[in-house]
Amino acid sequence: MTVFAVREVKAAPTSARVRQRRRLALLACVGLAALFALVTLALTTGQMPLPASVALRGLVGLGDPADVLVVQDFRAPRVIAAVVAGVGLGVAGSLLQRVFRNPLASPDVMGVTGGASFGAVVLLATGASQTLIPAAALGGGLLAALLLGVFGWRSGLTVTRLVLVGLAVQAGLAAAVNLMVVRFPAELAGSALQWTTGSLYGRTWTEVWAAGGAVALALVAAFSLQRRLAVLDLGDESAGGLGLNPSAARLQLLLTAIVLASLAAALTGPVAFVALAVPHLVRFVAGPPTPGTLALTGLAGAVLLLASDLVVQHLLPVSGLPVGVVTATLGAPWLLVLMIRQSRPVNRSAA
């Protein structure tokens, strides 16, 4: 790596790339360390505090059976659910923002996560098995995307229309969820609300495996489509010249992002603002997009969601709060800052 770097330093543009690669490697190390620390913290803290060594050994099944039970059955699924959903949301947000070339495009704004929670709540309403929730959420997310396409497509999707139609889709689906919440008996209404705010409470291994496996598949698709993004960035004509059908590529990317976001929402409910804020954060610290930054986005999403979940569990005075409360509270100022930067007079003519 270093030899490689030294050889390329001569050319100025490549030296910038090398510098970015080094910075990425550093950031990835920092991110992994943070993730490791947070995972350890999440496994050790709780009603029954455990030393880190005991918790980590419990994770692989060693040590006192009671400790192993606590770590493996209660804490680990929640931690892994947070990591999987964080990765899914981060990568989905990053893909959408690049496809639309707009920092505000995100599954929250487009109604996709709202659709996913609609699917999940419908499933809860019919009383079907909870293991089917990922499928239902995926269906709901795709339904939202379909509605978005039907209402918003008019020789392409412009960003303003996307956001506005997304709002409409979100509002209609929210009314449907609201109807069910009002009609449900109180216990069911509670679990439906828990879902729609985004919560990691009580995740089980079956849910984590099902959604995790699907997210992994979708991530493979995302990374294999990543190169098309770079081509799309050149503009539609150049992309066509390079033998890429821009509309088809865009559709594939969109579908991948929607699947990722819906699956993440299936696991945690529509956790707000993670998909929106994380790609910005990463672009801010890591520079222009490459496959490396996409991976880093996933990592950062996992760190953020896990950290928010820890805040919800241990730092807030009220117990049983959904994680979406923290991410919405932290994420909203972010979005506002973005808005203010976007609508600066310089950028106005473009808007």
Binding site: D108, G152, T160, L193
Partner: protein, 339 residues
């Protein structure tokens, strides 16, 4: 302002639109009559008329005068407030998508009410009134502040700022609802937006704010025409743009706050009414704002009657019906707005 007013001869303008206004008024009367007659216990219109004029007695008459008449009157007031608030909001922000909902006003009221239910153990919608009102007012003010840029209201920023505010407030609302079983049970019906069981004693306390809001809205409606030309042109015409915006903002907050306090968060009436009126009479605010006095109640009553008819003998909350009807409308509008 005066120049704009003179550009169209006022006489012809009004006379041409009179049939339309009459038609709208006729539809409103019809809706009100249906609202009195329909429900889980349908009452013939003749009995309704007899009950209203005090000639009929018995259970039908009690249902009409005791339950449906107050509900209908409340719906008229709330609908008028929402419609006019929507028209003024769209006028002062020059944004056809502005409405009490998109400004975060409903979510603010919802949050305030849920917190009040949780902390103070309230049980009746009458007690929610002032919390709803002040929550709505605070959220509306905040959304307007977020949208300010260099002394102007940026339309895109207003829409997005309102939505962001709404998302945060909604998630806080849900968190508070999850904190207590009782809160959840009390609040979820109110949060859906409903007219069921509303009597005159819910309406009296907000009547002053409602009337002040209406007067302010009607007073600035001619100036809104000038505002529609853009801030610079309006300024050149001698319209005090900033002052009109402030007064309009106050009117929106007063009207929408009163409406939410009475009926809970009812979506889309404030958005749809001005568009409906604009289709009929054009975009002159001197007709648009009064027109919403008819169109708002018309839409709200229609949604309420529909909610009572489709799920008989139970009923659907008016907020849910209006959201189902309004979401496709918003989507269609978005197509038009963002070419």
């Amino acid at each position: 302002m005066s120049k704009i007013a003179r550009a169209v001869p006022p006489g012809s303008l009004v006379t041409r639109r009179i049939p339309l206004l009459l038609a709208g008024f006729g539809a409103l009367v019809l809706c009100a009559a249906l609202s009195l007659a329909l429900g889980s216990r349908p009452v013939p219109l003749s009995t309704v008329a007899e009950a209203l004029f005090g000639d009929a007695h018995g259970r039908d008459a009690i249902v009409v005068t005791g339950l449906r008449l107050p509900r209908t009157v409340v719906a008229l007031a709330v609908g008028a407030a929402l419609g006019v608030a929507g028209a003024v909001a769209q006028g002062i922000t020059r944004n056809p998508l502005a409405s009490p909902t998109t400004l975060g006003i409903n979510a603010g009221a919802g949050f305030a009410v849920v917190v009040a239910i949780y902390a103070l153990h309230l049980t009746r919608p009458v007690e929610y009134l002032w919390f709803a009102f002040f929550g709505a007012a605070a959220a509306g003010m905040l959304a307007l502040m977020l949208a300010r840029r260099a002394g102007d209201l940026d339309p895109v920023r207003l829409a997005l700022g309102g939505v962001v505010l709404q998302m945060v407030l909604l998630s806080w609302t849900q968190a508070v609802m999850l904190a207590g079983e009782r809160t959840l049970d009390e609040a979820r019906f109110w949060l859906a937006g409903s007219l069921s069981g509303r009597t005159f004693d819910v309406l009296w306390p907000v009547l002053p704010t409602l009337v002040i809001g209406l007067v302010l809205a009607l007073a600035i409606s001619p100036a809104l025409n000038a505002l529609a030309l853009g801030d610079d042109s309006a300024q050149a015409l001698g319209v005090p743009v900033a002052r009109i915006r402030v007064v309009g903002g106050i009117a929106v907050v007063l009207l929408a706050g009163s409406a939410v306090a009475v009926a809970g968060p009812v979506a889309f009436i404030g958005l749809a009414a001005p568009h409906l009126v604009r289709l009929a009479v054009g975009s002159d605010h001197r007709l648009l704002v009064p027109g919403c006095l008819i169109a708002g109640p018309l839409l709200l009553l229609a949604a309420d009657v529909l909610g009572r008819v489709v799920a008989r003998p139970s009923e659907l909350e008016v907020g849910i019906v209006s959201a189902f009807l309004g979401a496709p409308l918003l989507a269609v509008l978005a197509r038009k707005v963002a070419r």
